[in-house]
Protein backbone atom coordinates (compact mmCIF):
# COMPACT_ATOMS: atom_id res chain seq x y z
CA UNK A 1 0.00 0.00 0.00
CA UNK A 2 3.01 2.34 0.60
CA UNK A 3 5.10 2.24 -2.52
CA UNK A 4 8.23 4.40 -2.95
CA UNK A 5 10.25 4.33 -6.12
CA UNK A 6 13.53 6.17 -6.68
CA UNK A 7 12.83 8.73 -3.95
CA UNK A 8 15.45 11.48 -3.71
CA UNK A 9 15.51 14.38 -1.28
CA UNK A 10 18.07 17.11 -1.77
CA UNK A 11 18.38 19.98 0.70
CA UNK A 12 20.17 23.15 -0.23
CA UNK A 13 22.36 24.33 2.63
CA UNK A 14 23.63 27.68 1.43
CA UNK A 15 24.34 26.68 -2.18
CA UNK A 16 25.63 23.29 -1.12
CA UNK A 17 23.25 20.45 -2.04
CA UNK A 18 22.84 17.84 0.72
CA UNK A 19 21.46 14.51 -0.53
CA UNK A 20 19.45 13.31 2.47
CA UNK A 21 17.77 10.46 0.51
CA UNK A 22 19.47 8.73 -2.42
CA UNK A 23 17.17 6.60 -4.45
CA UNK A 24 14.88 4.91 -1.93
CA UNK A 25 12.83 1.99 -3.25
CA UNK A 26 10.46 0.63 -0.63
CA UNK A 27 7.19 -1.30 -0.47
CA UNK A 28 5.31 -1.60 2.80
CA UNK A 29 2.12 -3.65 2.84
CA UNK A 30 -1.07 -2.92 4.73
CA UNK A 31 -0.89 -3.97 8.39
CA UNK A 32 2.91 -4.32 8.51
CA UNK A 33 4.98 -3.32 11.55
CA UNK A 34 8.30 -1.83 10.43
CA UNK A 35 11.12 -0.36 12.47
CA UNK A 36 13.54 2.09 10.88
CA UNK A 37 17.00 2.45 12.42
CA UNK A 38 20.35 3.91 11.47
CA UNK A 39 22.94 6.44 12.54
CA UNK A 40 22.06 10.06 13.15
CA UNK A 41 21.76 12.03 9.92
CA UNK A 42 21.14 8.92 7.82
CA UNK A 43 17.78 10.27 6.60
CA UNK A 44 15.25 8.38 8.75
CA UNK A 45 13.18 11.44 9.67
CA UNK A 46 13.37 12.78 6.15
CA UNK A 47 11.98 9.51 4.80
CA UNK A 48 9.22 9.38 7.40
CA UNK A 49 8.24 12.99 6.66
CA UNK A 50 7.88 12.19 2.99
CA UNK A 51 5.78 9.12 3.74
CA UNK A 52 3.65 11.29 6.06
CA UNK A 53 3.22 13.98 3.36
CA UNK A 54 4.86 16.56 5.58
CA UNK A 55 7.59 16.94 2.98
CA UNK A 56 7.89 16.44 -0.75
CA UNK A 57 10.47 14.30 -2.50
CA UNK A 58 12.82 16.06 -4.92
CA UNK A 59 12.47 13.15 -7.33
CA UNK A 60 10.83 9.75 -7.51
CA UNK A 61 7.27 8.54 -7.10
CA UNK A 62 5.20 7.83 -4.02
CA UNK A 63 1.98 5.84 -4.22
CA UNK A 64 -0.33 5.39 -1.27
CA UNK A 65 -3.06 2.79 -1.83
CA UNK A 66 -2.30 3.02 -5.53
CA UNK A 67 -2.82 6.79 -5.56
CA UNK A 68 0.05 9.00 -6.79
CA UNK A 69 0.08 11.40 -3.83
CA UNK A 70 2.89 13.61 -5.13
CA UNK A 71 0.52 14.90 -7.79
CA UNK A 72 -2.22 15.93 -5.37
CA UNK A 73 -3.25 19.50 -4.66
CA UNK A 74 -2.69 21.07 -1.22
CA UNK A 75 -6.33 20.47 -0.37
CA UNK A 76 -6.16 16.79 -1.34
CA UNK A 77 -2.85 16.25 0.46
CA UNK A 78 -4.31 17.75 3.63
CA UNK A 79 -7.19 15.34 3.32
CA UNK A 80 -4.80 12.36 3.01
CA UNK A 81 -2.84 13.56 6.07
CA UNK A 82 -6.07 13.90 7.97
CA UNK A 83 -7.68 10.63 7.06
CA UNK A 84 -4.96 8.14 6.16
CA UNK A 85 -1.92 9.04 8.24
CA UNK A 86 -1.29 9.51 11.92
CA UNK A 87 1.99 11.08 13.01
CA UNK A 88 3.65 10.77 16.43
CA UNK A 89 6.60 13.07 17.13
CA UNK A 90 9.56 12.81 19.47
CA UNK A 91 8.66 16.18 21.02
CA UNK A 92 4.90 15.51 21.22
CA UNK A 93 3.94 18.87 19.65
CA UNK A 94 0.82 19.41 21.69
CA UNK A 95 -0.76 22.87 21.63
CA UNK A 96 0.03 24.34 25.04
CA UNK A 97 -3.14 26.38 25.48
CA UNK A 98 -5.48 23.47 24.68
CA UNK A 99 -6.48 20.81 27.16
CA UNK A 100 -5.52 17.18 26.52
CA UNK A 101 -9.02 16.53 25.25
CA UNK A 102 -9.01 19.48 22.86
CA UNK A 103 -5.60 18.47 21.54
CA UNK A 104 -7.00 15.04 20.77
CA UNK A 105 -10.02 16.59 19.05
CA UNK A 106 -7.97 18.87 16.81
CA UNK A 107 -7.95 16.64 13.68
CA UNK A 108 -11.69 16.06 14.03
CA UNK A 109 -12.24 19.80 14.40
CA UNK A 110 -10.39 20.41 11.14
CA UNK A 111 -12.42 17.64 9.52
CA UNK A 112 -15.66 19.38 10.52
CA UNK A 113 -16.93 16.60 12.79
CA UNK A 114 -19.69 17.85 15.15
CA UNK A 115 -18.77 18.57 18.77
CA UNK A 116 -20.83 15.79 20.32
CA UNK A 117 -19.18 13.16 18.15
CA UNK A 118 -15.75 14.67 18.86
CA UNK A 119 -16.30 14.47 22.61
CA UNK A 120 -17.53 10.90 22.37
CA UNK A 121 -14.49 9.76 20.40
CA UNK A 122 -11.89 11.69 22.42
CA UNK A 123 -13.41 10.53 25.73
CA UNK A 124 -13.24 6.97 24.51
CA UNK A 125 -9.58 7.21 23.46
CA UNK A 126 -8.44 9.06 26.57
CA UNK A 127 -10.07 6.41 28.72
CA UNK A 128 -8.47 3.65 26.72
CA UNK A 129 -5.02 5.24 27.14
CA UNK A 130 -5.49 5.73 30.88
CA UNK A 131 -5.93 9.51 30.64
CA UNK A 132 -9.58 9.86 31.67
CA UNK A 133 -8.66 11.91 34.73
CA UNK A 134 -6.31 14.11 32.70
CA UNK A 135 -8.76 15.12 29.97
CA UNK A 136 -9.01 18.72 31.10
CA UNK A 137 -5.36 19.20 31.99
CA UNK A 138 -3.05 21.35 29.92
CA UNK A 139 0.04 19.64 28.42
CA UNK A 140 2.34 21.38 30.90
CA UNK A 141 0.47 19.63 33.71
CA UNK A 142 1.18 16.21 32.20
CA UNK A 143 4.23 13.94 32.40
CA UNK A 144 6.20 13.10 29.25
CA UNK A 145 4.59 9.68 28.97
CA UNK A 146 1.11 11.15 29.40
CA UNK A 147 1.84 13.77 26.77
CA UNK A 148 2.97 11.15 24.31
CA UNK A 149 -0.19 9.12 24.96
CA UNK A 150 -2.27 12.25 24.27
CA UNK A 151 -0.28 12.70 21.06
CA UNK A 152 -0.97 9.10 20.07
CA UNK A 153 -4.65 9.60 20.78
CA UNK A 154 -4.58 12.65 18.51
CA UNK A 155 -2.77 10.69 15.78
CA UNK A 156 -5.27 7.85 15.89
CA UNK A 157 -8.56 9.60 16.55
CA UNK A 158 -9.33 9.77 12.82
CA UNK A 159 -8.61 6.00 12.66
CA UNK A 160 -5.93 6.28 9.97
CA UNK A 161 -4.70 3.06 8.38
CA UNK A 162 -1.07 4.21 8.69
CA UNK A 163 0.69 5.33 11.87
CA UNK A 164 4.14 6.91 11.68
CA UNK A 165 6.22 7.47 14.82
CA UNK A 166 9.53 9.35 14.81
CA UNK A 167 11.44 8.35 17.94
CA UNK A 168 8.24 8.17 20.03
CA UNK A 169 10.15 7.03 23.12
CA UNK A 170 13.19 9.23 22.54
CA UNK A 171 12.18 11.67 25.26
CA UNK A 172 10.68 9.22 27.73
CA UNK A 173 11.95 7.20 30.66
CA UNK A 174 11.97 3.42 30.32
CA UNK A 175 8.58 2.76 31.96
CA UNK A 176 6.70 5.44 30.05
CA UNK A 177 8.43 4.31 26.86
CA UNK A 178 7.24 0.75 27.38
CA UNK A 179 3.68 1.95 27.95
CA UNK A 180 3.82 3.95 24.68
CA UNK A 181 5.24 0.96 22.80
CA UNK A 182 2.47 -1.24 24.16
CA UNK A 183 -0.16 1.18 22.87
CA UNK A 184 1.48 1.41 19.44
CA UNK A 185 1.74 -2.38 19.17
CA UNK A 186 -1.90 -2.77 20.25
CA UNK A 187 -2.84 -0.45 17.39
CA UNK A 188 -0.79 -2.57 15.02
CA UNK A 189 -2.53 -5.61 16.43
CA UNK A 190 -5.84 -4.01 15.48
CA UNK A 191 -4.68 -3.71 11.85
CA UNK A 192 -2.83 -0.40 11.64
CA UNK A 193 0.29 -0.21 9.50
CA UNK A 194 3.03 0.95 11.89
CA UNK A 195 6.39 2.49 11.04
CA UNK A 196 8.62 3.40 13.99
CA UNK A 197 11.89 5.31 13.72
CA UNK A 198 14.09 4.59 16.73
CA UNK A 199 17.60 4.58 18.11
CA UNK A 200 16.65 1.98 20.73
CA UNK A 201 17.86 -1.47 19.53
CA UNK A 202 15.43 -3.30 21.85
CA UNK A 203 12.48 -1.40 20.45
CA UNK A 204 13.74 -1.80 16.89
CA UNK A 205 14.15 -5.53 17.36
CA UNK A 206 10.49 -6.00 18.30
CA UNK A 207 9.29 -5.25 14.77
CA UNK A 208 8.79 -8.19 12.40
CA UNK A 209 10.41 -6.11 9.65
CA UNK A 210 13.50 -4.07 10.38
CA UNK A 211 14.99 -1.47 8.03
CA UNK A 212 18.46 -0.02 8.45
CA UNK A 213 19.42 3.25 6.78
CA UNK A 214 22.90 4.56 6.16
CA UNK A 215 23.73 7.78 4.36
CA UNK A 216 20.39 8.23 2.62
CA UNK A 217 20.07 4.59 1.48
CA UNK A 218 18.29 1.54 2.86
CA UNK A 219 21.17 -0.80 3.66
CA UNK A 220 19.27 -3.62 5.29
CA UNK A 221 15.72 -4.96 5.09
CA UNK A 222 15.27 -7.84 7.55
CA UNK A 223 12.10 -9.86 8.08
CA UNK A 224 11.17 -12.38 10.73
Amino acid sequence: MISLLGIERVFLVGDQPVRALRGIDLEIGAGEYVSLMGPSGSGKSTLLNIVGLLDRASAGSYRLDGLDVTALSDEQQARVRREKIGFVFQFFHLIARLSAQHNVELPMLLAGIPAAERTRRSDDLLRRYGLAERAHHKPEQLSGGQRQRVAIARATVMRPPVLLADEPTGNLDRASGQEVVRILEDLHGAGTTLIVVTHDPDLGARAPRRLRMVDGRIEQDLRG
Partner: protein, 402 residues
Protein backbone atom coordinates in the same frame (compact mmCIF):
# COMPACT_ATOMS: atom_id res chain seq x y z
CA UNK B 1 -13.95 22.89 9.85
CA UNK B 2 -17.09 24.48 11.31
CA UNK B 3 -17.30 28.27 11.70
CA UNK B 4 -18.19 27.95 15.30
CA UNK B 5 -15.18 25.73 16.03
CA UNK B 6 -12.85 27.90 13.96
CA UNK B 7 -13.96 30.98 15.86
CA UNK B 8 -13.44 29.31 19.21
CA UNK B 9 -10.03 28.10 18.19
CA UNK B 10 -9.04 31.58 16.96
CA UNK B 11 -10.37 33.11 20.15
CA UNK B 12 -8.16 30.77 22.15
CA UNK B 13 -5.23 31.92 20.03
CA UNK B 14 -5.93 35.52 20.94
CA UNK B 15 -6.16 34.82 24.64
CA UNK B 16 -2.72 33.29 24.48
CA UNK B 17 -1.23 36.64 23.47
CA UNK B 18 -3.03 39.21 25.53
CA UNK B 19 -0.76 42.22 25.32
CA UNK B 20 -0.54 41.86 21.56
CA UNK B 21 -4.30 41.56 21.27
CA UNK B 22 -4.80 44.53 23.58
CA UNK B 23 -2.55 46.70 21.44
CA UNK B 24 -4.61 45.97 18.35
CA UNK B 25 -7.90 46.41 20.14
CA UNK B 26 -6.71 49.76 21.43
CA UNK B 27 -5.63 51.07 18.04
CA UNK B 28 -8.93 50.01 16.50
CA UNK B 29 -10.88 51.47 19.42
CA UNK B 30 -9.19 54.85 19.08
CA UNK B 31 -9.85 54.92 15.34
CA UNK B 32 -13.50 53.98 15.60
CA UNK B 33 -14.00 56.27 18.59
CA UNK B 34 -12.51 59.20 16.67
CA UNK B 35 -14.84 58.63 13.73
CA UNK B 36 -17.87 58.50 16.02
CA UNK B 37 -16.97 61.58 18.06
CA UNK B 38 -15.91 63.72 15.09
CA UNK B 39 -18.98 62.94 13.02
CA UNK B 40 -21.15 63.50 16.09
CA UNK B 41 -19.58 66.94 16.39
CA UNK B 42 -20.23 67.66 12.71
CA UNK B 43 -23.80 66.48 12.98
CA UNK B 44 -24.20 68.53 16.14
CA UNK B 45 -23.08 71.67 14.34
CA UNK B 46 -25.48 70.92 11.53
CA UNK B 47 -28.34 70.31 13.93
CA UNK B 48 -27.50 73.55 15.72
CA UNK B 49 -27.73 75.60 12.52
CA UNK B 50 -30.93 73.86 11.47
CA UNK B 51 -32.50 74.62 14.84
CA UNK B 52 -31.45 78.24 14.61
CA UNK B 53 -33.16 78.56 11.26
CA UNK B 54 -36.27 76.80 12.40
CA UNK B 55 -36.57 79.34 15.19
CA UNK B 56 -36.95 81.93 12.46
CA UNK B 57 -40.45 80.83 11.47
CA UNK B 58 -41.33 78.30 8.88
CA UNK B 59 -42.84 80.06 5.87
CA UNK B 60 -40.25 82.77 5.78
CA UNK B 61 -38.76 84.49 2.75
CA UNK B 62 -36.04 87.09 2.97
CA UNK B 63 -35.65 89.91 0.44
CA UNK B 64 -32.37 91.72 0.18
CA UNK B 65 -30.97 94.21 -2.32
CA UNK B 66 -28.61 93.00 -5.03
CA UNK B 67 -28.86 90.16 -7.46
CA UNK B 68 -26.87 86.99 -6.90
CA UNK B 69 -26.07 84.37 -9.47
CA UNK B 70 -28.89 81.97 -10.07
CA UNK B 71 -28.97 79.31 -7.42
CA UNK B 72 -26.66 81.22 -5.13
CA UNK B 73 -27.91 82.18 -1.74
CA UNK B 74 -25.19 84.47 -0.45
CA UNK B 75 -25.21 88.25 -0.57
CA UNK B 76 -22.15 88.54 -2.79
CA UNK B 77 -21.70 88.44 -6.57
CA UNK B 78 -23.56 91.44 -7.86
CA UNK B 79 -24.33 91.36 -11.51
CA UNK B 80 -24.66 94.48 -13.65
CA UNK B 81 -24.96 97.97 -12.18
CA UNK B 82 -25.21 98.94 -8.53
CA UNK B 83 -28.63 97.79 -7.34
CA UNK B 84 -31.35 100.07 -6.19
CA UNK B 85 -31.93 100.12 -2.44
CA UNK B 86 -34.97 98.61 -0.82
CA UNK B 87 -37.36 101.14 0.59
CA UNK B 88 -40.27 101.10 2.98
CA UNK B 89 -42.56 101.68 0.00
CA UNK B 90 -41.19 98.46 -1.54
CA UNK B 91 -42.09 96.60 1.63
CA UNK B 92 -45.60 98.03 1.74
CA UNK B 93 -46.11 97.19 -1.92
CA UNK B 94 -45.44 93.52 -1.18
CA UNK B 95 -48.47 93.30 1.12
CA UNK B 96 -50.61 93.47 -2.06
CA UNK B 97 -49.49 90.02 -3.21
CA UNK B 98 -52.12 87.32 -2.60
CA UNK B 99 -49.55 84.67 -1.63
CA UNK B 100 -48.07 86.84 1.07
CA UNK B 101 -49.54 86.88 4.57
CA UNK B 102 -47.35 89.45 6.26
CA UNK B 103 -44.38 91.69 5.60
CA UNK B 104 -41.88 93.07 8.09
CA UNK B 105 -39.33 95.64 6.95
CA UNK B 106 -35.99 95.58 8.71
CA UNK B 107 -33.30 98.14 9.25
CA UNK B 108 -30.47 97.84 11.76
CA UNK B 109 -28.10 100.20 13.48
CA UNK B 110 -26.45 100.70 16.83
CA UNK B 111 -27.01 103.60 19.17
CA UNK B 112 -26.35 104.60 22.74
CA UNK B 113 -29.36 103.94 24.91
CA UNK B 114 -29.68 105.73 28.25
CA UNK B 115 -32.03 105.69 31.18
CA UNK B 116 -31.32 107.62 34.33
CA UNK B 117 -27.61 107.35 34.95
CA UNK B 118 -27.17 104.12 33.04
CA UNK B 119 -26.37 103.77 29.36
CA UNK B 120 -25.58 100.98 26.95
CA UNK B 121 -24.53 100.63 23.32
CA UNK B 122 -27.46 98.74 21.83
CA UNK B 123 -28.44 97.18 18.53
CA UNK B 124 -31.53 98.94 17.23
CA UNK B 125 -33.92 97.03 14.97
CA UNK B 126 -36.44 99.07 13.02
CA UNK B 127 -39.45 97.06 11.91
CA UNK B 128 -43.23 96.88 12.04
CA UNK B 129 -45.74 95.10 14.28
CA UNK B 130 -45.78 92.15 11.85
CA UNK B 131 -42.35 91.22 13.14
CA UNK B 132 -43.96 89.77 16.24
CA UNK B 133 -45.88 87.11 14.32
CA UNK B 134 -43.21 86.42 11.73
CA UNK B 135 -40.49 85.90 14.32
CA UNK B 136 -42.71 84.42 16.97
CA UNK B 137 -41.84 87.04 19.58
CA UNK B 138 -43.41 86.64 23.00
CA UNK B 139 -43.86 89.43 25.48
CA UNK B 140 -42.88 89.21 29.09
CA UNK B 141 -44.65 92.45 29.90
CA UNK B 142 -46.31 95.29 28.04
CA UNK B 143 -47.02 94.98 24.33
CA UNK B 144 -45.17 94.89 21.03
CA UNK B 145 -45.06 97.74 18.48
CA UNK B 146 -48.57 99.09 17.78
CA UNK B 147 -50.42 98.00 14.67
CA UNK B 148 -51.02 100.67 12.10
CA UNK B 149 -49.24 102.57 9.38
CA UNK B 150 -45.59 101.55 9.22
CA UNK B 151 -44.71 105.05 8.00
CA UNK B 152 -45.56 106.53 11.38
CA UNK B 153 -42.43 107.23 13.43
CA UNK B 154 -44.12 106.70 16.78
CA UNK B 155 -41.50 107.20 19.54
CA UNK B 156 -41.99 103.90 21.31
CA UNK B 157 -39.68 100.94 21.80
CA UNK B 158 -39.70 97.30 22.84
CA UNK B 159 -36.64 95.96 24.64
CA UNK B 160 -34.95 92.63 25.17
CA UNK B 161 -34.48 91.10 28.56
CA UNK B 162 -30.77 91.87 28.93
CA UNK B 163 -31.32 95.50 27.98
CA UNK B 164 -34.08 95.75 30.54
CA UNK B 165 -31.91 94.22 33.27
CA UNK B 166 -28.96 96.46 32.57
CA UNK B 167 -30.84 99.75 32.23
CA UNK B 168 -33.62 99.31 34.73
CA UNK B 169 -32.31 96.81 37.26
CA UNK B 170 -35.23 96.04 39.53
CA UNK B 171 -37.36 98.96 38.34
CA UNK B 172 -40.44 98.49 36.18
CA UNK B 173 -39.41 99.29 32.60
CA UNK B 174 -42.73 99.56 30.81
CA UNK B 175 -43.94 103.17 30.62
CA UNK B 176 -40.51 104.76 31.20
CA UNK B 177 -38.89 107.22 28.88
CA UNK B 178 -35.46 106.28 27.49
CA UNK B 179 -33.06 108.04 25.15
CA UNK B 180 -31.82 106.27 22.07
CA UNK B 181 -29.23 108.37 20.31
CA UNK B 182 -30.60 111.89 20.47
CA UNK B 183 -34.25 110.98 20.63
CA UNK B 184 -36.67 110.03 23.36
CA UNK B 185 -38.79 106.90 23.31
CA UNK B 186 -41.28 105.34 25.65
CA UNK B 187 -40.75 101.69 26.59
CA UNK B 188 -43.98 99.82 25.82
CA UNK B 189 -42.89 96.21 26.22
CA UNK B 190 -40.23 93.72 27.33
CA UNK B 191 -39.68 90.56 25.29
CA UNK B 192 -39.42 87.09 26.83
CA UNK B 193 -35.81 85.84 26.68
CA UNK B 194 -35.33 84.20 23.30
CA UNK B 195 -31.57 83.83 22.96
CA UNK B 196 -29.44 83.72 19.88
CA UNK B 197 -31.20 83.76 16.53
CA UNK B 198 -29.67 84.29 13.11
CA UNK B 199 -26.59 86.15 14.22
CA UNK B 200 -27.80 88.41 17.02
CA UNK B 201 -28.95 87.87 20.50
CA UNK B 202 -32.57 88.98 20.66
CA UNK B 203 -32.22 89.67 24.38
CA UNK B 204 -29.77 92.48 23.67
CA UNK B 205 -31.74 94.51 21.11
CA UNK B 206 -34.19 97.34 21.19
CA UNK B 207 -36.98 97.36 18.59
CA UNK B 208 -38.51 100.61 17.33
CA UNK B 209 -40.95 101.39 14.47
CA UNK B 210 -39.08 101.25 11.17
CA UNK B 211 -39.80 104.88 10.34
CA UNK B 212 -38.41 105.91 13.72
CA UNK B 213 -35.24 103.93 13.09
CA UNK B 214 -34.82 105.48 9.65
CA UNK B 215 -35.17 108.94 11.17
CA UNK B 216 -32.75 108.03 13.96
CA UNK B 217 -30.08 106.84 11.57
CA UNK B 218 -31.04 109.33 8.87
CA UNK B 219 -31.52 106.76 6.14
CA UNK B 220 -34.34 105.89 3.77
CA UNK B 221 -33.35 102.33 2.96
CA UNK B 222 -34.04 98.89 4.37
CA UNK B 223 -31.54 96.16 5.08
CA UNK B 224 -34.00 93.33 4.51
CA UNK B 225 -37.66 92.67 4.05
CA UNK B 226 -38.99 89.61 5.84
CA UNK B 227 -41.98 88.08 4.10
CA UNK B 228 -44.24 85.38 5.40
CA UNK B 229 -46.00 83.24 2.82
CA UNK B 230 -49.58 82.22 3.51
CA UNK B 231 -48.58 78.57 3.82
CA UNK B 232 -45.65 76.30 3.14
CA UNK B 233 -46.99 75.40 -0.30
CA UNK B 234 -47.39 79.12 -1.07
CA UNK B 235 -43.66 79.75 -0.68
CA UNK B 236 -42.74 79.47 -4.40
CA UNK B 237 -45.76 81.61 -5.38
CA UNK B 238 -44.96 84.23 -2.77
CA UNK B 239 -41.37 84.31 -3.99
CA UNK B 240 -42.39 84.84 -7.63
CA UNK B 241 -44.91 87.53 -6.67
CA UNK B 242 -42.42 89.39 -4.52
CA UNK B 243 -39.87 89.31 -7.32
CA UNK B 244 -42.41 90.50 -9.88
CA UNK B 245 -43.67 93.38 -7.73
CA UNK B 246 -40.18 94.62 -6.92
CA UNK B 247 -39.06 94.30 -10.55
CA UNK B 248 -41.99 96.44 -11.60
CA UNK B 249 -41.21 99.02 -8.91
CA UNK B 250 -37.54 99.09 -9.90
CA UNK B 251 -38.16 100.00 -13.55
CA UNK B 252 -38.04 96.43 -14.78
CA UNK B 253 -34.66 95.75 -13.20
CA UNK B 254 -34.36 92.46 -11.32
CA UNK B 255 -32.07 93.84 -8.66
CA UNK B 256 -33.24 92.06 -5.54
CA UNK B 257 -32.74 88.57 -4.25
CA UNK B 258 -35.45 86.60 -2.55
CA UNK B 259 -34.26 83.60 -0.62
CA UNK B 260 -36.45 81.09 1.04
CA UNK B 261 -35.50 79.68 4.36
CA UNK B 262 -35.37 76.27 2.77
CA UNK B 263 -32.71 77.41 0.32
CA UNK B 264 -30.54 78.93 3.04
CA UNK B 265 -31.03 75.94 5.22
CA UNK B 266 -30.20 73.58 2.39
CA UNK B 267 -26.94 75.36 1.70
CA UNK B 268 -25.85 75.24 5.31
CA UNK B 269 -27.02 71.69 5.49
CA UNK B 270 -24.93 70.78 2.46
CA UNK B 271 -21.83 72.55 3.71
CA UNK B 272 -22.01 71.02 7.16
CA UNK B 273 -22.77 67.58 5.83
CA UNK B 274 -19.68 67.83 3.63
CA UNK B 275 -17.69 68.95 6.65
CA UNK B 276 -18.93 66.00 8.70
CA UNK B 277 -18.06 63.67 5.85
CA UNK B 278 -14.59 65.20 5.62
CA UNK B 279 -13.69 64.91 9.32
CA UNK B 280 -15.24 61.45 9.44
CA UNK B 281 -13.19 60.51 6.39
CA UNK B 282 -9.96 61.76 7.92
CA UNK B 283 -10.62 59.80 11.09
CA UNK B 284 -11.48 56.80 8.92
CA UNK B 285 -8.16 57.06 7.10
CA UNK B 286 -6.32 57.10 10.40
CA UNK B 287 -8.28 53.99 11.29
CA UNK B 288 -7.16 52.34 8.08
CA UNK B 289 -3.57 53.34 8.78
CA UNK B 290 -3.76 51.38 12.02
CA UNK B 291 -3.85 48.43 9.61
CA UNK B 292 -0.05 48.68 9.42
CA UNK B 293 0.04 47.91 13.11
CA UNK B 294 -2.38 45.05 12.56
CA UNK B 295 -0.11 43.60 9.90
CA UNK B 296 2.98 43.78 12.10
CA UNK B 297 1.22 42.26 15.04
CA UNK B 298 -0.12 39.41 12.93
CA UNK B 299 3.28 38.79 11.34
CA UNK B 300 4.76 38.45 14.81
CA UNK B 301 1.90 36.13 15.72
CA UNK B 302 2.71 33.92 12.74
CA UNK B 303 6.37 33.60 13.62
CA UNK B 304 5.61 33.00 17.30
CA UNK B 305 3.23 30.21 16.40
CA UNK B 306 5.23 28.40 13.74
CA UNK B 307 5.07 25.14 15.66
CA UNK B 308 1.33 25.33 16.10
CA UNK B 309 0.85 26.04 12.42
CA UNK B 310 3.14 23.16 11.45
CA UNK B 311 1.22 20.86 13.77
CA UNK B 312 -2.12 21.94 12.35
CA UNK B 313 -0.86 21.11 8.89
CA UNK B 314 0.48 17.76 10.06
CA UNK B 315 -2.92 16.78 11.43
CA UNK B 316 -4.67 17.74 8.23
CA UNK B 317 -5.27 21.50 8.02
CA UNK B 318 -5.37 22.88 4.48
CA UNK B 319 -3.74 26.18 3.59
CA UNK B 320 -7.19 27.71 3.28
CA UNK B 321 -8.06 26.63 6.82
CA UNK B 322 -4.89 28.19 8.25
CA UNK B 323 -5.64 31.43 6.41
CA UNK B 324 -9.20 31.45 7.70
CA UNK B 325 -8.05 30.89 11.29
CA UNK B 326 -5.77 33.93 11.16
CA UNK B 327 -8.39 36.06 9.44
CA UNK B 328 -10.97 35.15 12.06
CA UNK B 329 -8.46 36.08 14.74
CA UNK B 330 -7.94 39.50 13.15
CA UNK B 331 -11.65 39.97 12.70
CA UNK B 332 -12.31 39.14 16.34
CA UNK B 333 -9.73 41.72 17.36
CA UNK B 334 -11.28 44.27 15.04
CA UNK B 335 -14.73 43.59 16.43
CA UNK B 336 -13.54 43.91 20.01
CA UNK B 337 -11.73 47.12 19.10
CA UNK B 338 -14.72 48.46 17.22
CA UNK B 339 -17.06 47.68 20.10
CA UNK B 340 -14.74 49.42 22.55
CA UNK B 341 -14.36 52.33 20.12
CA UNK B 342 -18.10 52.59 19.67
CA UNK B 343 -18.63 52.71 23.42
CA UNK B 344 -15.86 55.30 23.68
CA UNK B 345 -17.32 57.39 20.84
CA UNK B 346 -20.88 57.27 22.15
CA UNK B 347 -19.69 58.23 25.62
CA UNK B 348 -17.67 61.07 24.08
CA UNK B 349 -20.68 62.32 22.13
CA UNK B 350 -22.82 62.18 25.27
CA UNK B 351 -20.19 64.22 27.07
CA UNK B 352 -20.21 66.84 24.31
CA UNK B 353 -24.00 67.06 24.52
CA UNK B 354 -23.71 67.54 28.25
CA UNK B 355 -21.11 70.28 27.96
CA UNK B 356 -22.80 72.02 25.01
CA UNK B 357 -26.53 71.34 25.27
CA UNK B 358 -27.17 73.42 22.14
CA UNK B 359 -25.25 70.87 20.01
CA UNK B 360 -27.32 67.81 19.18
CA UNK B 361 -24.10 65.76 18.86
CA UNK B 362 -25.30 62.35 17.75
CA UNK B 363 -23.06 60.39 15.37
CA UNK B 364 -25.01 59.61 12.19
CA UNK B 365 -25.70 55.92 11.71
CA UNK B 366 -23.93 55.90 8.34
CA UNK B 367 -20.76 57.05 10.08
CA UNK B 368 -21.02 54.35 12.72
CA UNK B 369 -21.63 51.71 10.06
CA UNK B 370 -18.73 53.03 7.98
CA UNK B 371 -16.39 53.04 10.98
CA UNK B 372 -17.24 49.45 11.90
CA UNK B 373 -16.91 48.36 8.29
CA UNK B 374 -13.56 50.13 7.92
CA UNK B 375 -12.28 48.46 11.09
CA UNK B 376 -13.32 45.01 9.87
CA UNK B 377 -12.02 45.59 6.36
CA UNK B 378 -8.73 47.00 7.61
CA UNK B 379 -8.20 44.00 9.86
CA UNK B 380 -8.93 41.59 7.02
CA UNK B 381 -6.93 43.32 4.32
CA UNK B 382 -3.86 43.78 6.47
CA UNK B 383 -4.01 40.19 7.73
CA UNK B 384 -4.12 38.71 4.23
CA UNK B 385 -0.35 38.79 3.88
CA UNK B 386 0.46 37.36 7.36
CA UNK B 387 -2.24 34.70 6.91
CA UNK B 388 -0.80 33.75 3.53
CA UNK B 389 2.65 33.48 5.03
CA UNK B 390 1.30 31.20 7.75
CA UNK B 391 -0.51 29.04 5.22
CA UNK B 392 2.68 28.55 3.21
CA UNK B 393 4.83 27.51 6.17
CA UNK B 394 6.62 24.25 5.53
CA UNK B 395 5.33 21.87 8.23
CA UNK B 396 8.65 20.05 8.60
CA UNK B 397 10.56 23.27 9.16
CA UNK B 398 7.86 24.61 11.46
CA UNK B 399 7.97 21.48 13.61
CA UNK B 400 11.73 21.03 13.67
CA UNK B 401 13.67 22.25 16.65
CA UNK B 402 16.51 23.47 14.51
Amino acid sequence: MRWHDATRFAWGGLRGFRSRALLMVLSMAIGVGAVVVLTALGEGARGYVVNQFSALGTNLLIVFPGRTETGGTGTGMLVGQTPRDLTLEDALALTRAPGIAAVAPLTIGTALMTYGGRSRETIVLGTSWHWKDIRGVEMQSGSFLPAGDARAATPVCVIGRTVRDELFGSEVAVGRQVRIGDRRYRVIGVMTPHGESLGFNMDEVVIVPVAAAQALFDISTLLRILVEARSRSDIPRAKAQAEAILQERHDGERDVTVVTQDAVLETFDRILRALTLAVGGIAGISLAVSGILVMNVMLIAVSQRRQEIGLLKAVGATRAQIRVLFLIEALLLAMLGAAAGLALGLAGSALIRRLYPALPAYAPSWAIAAALLTAALTAIVFTLLPARRAARLDPVLALSRR
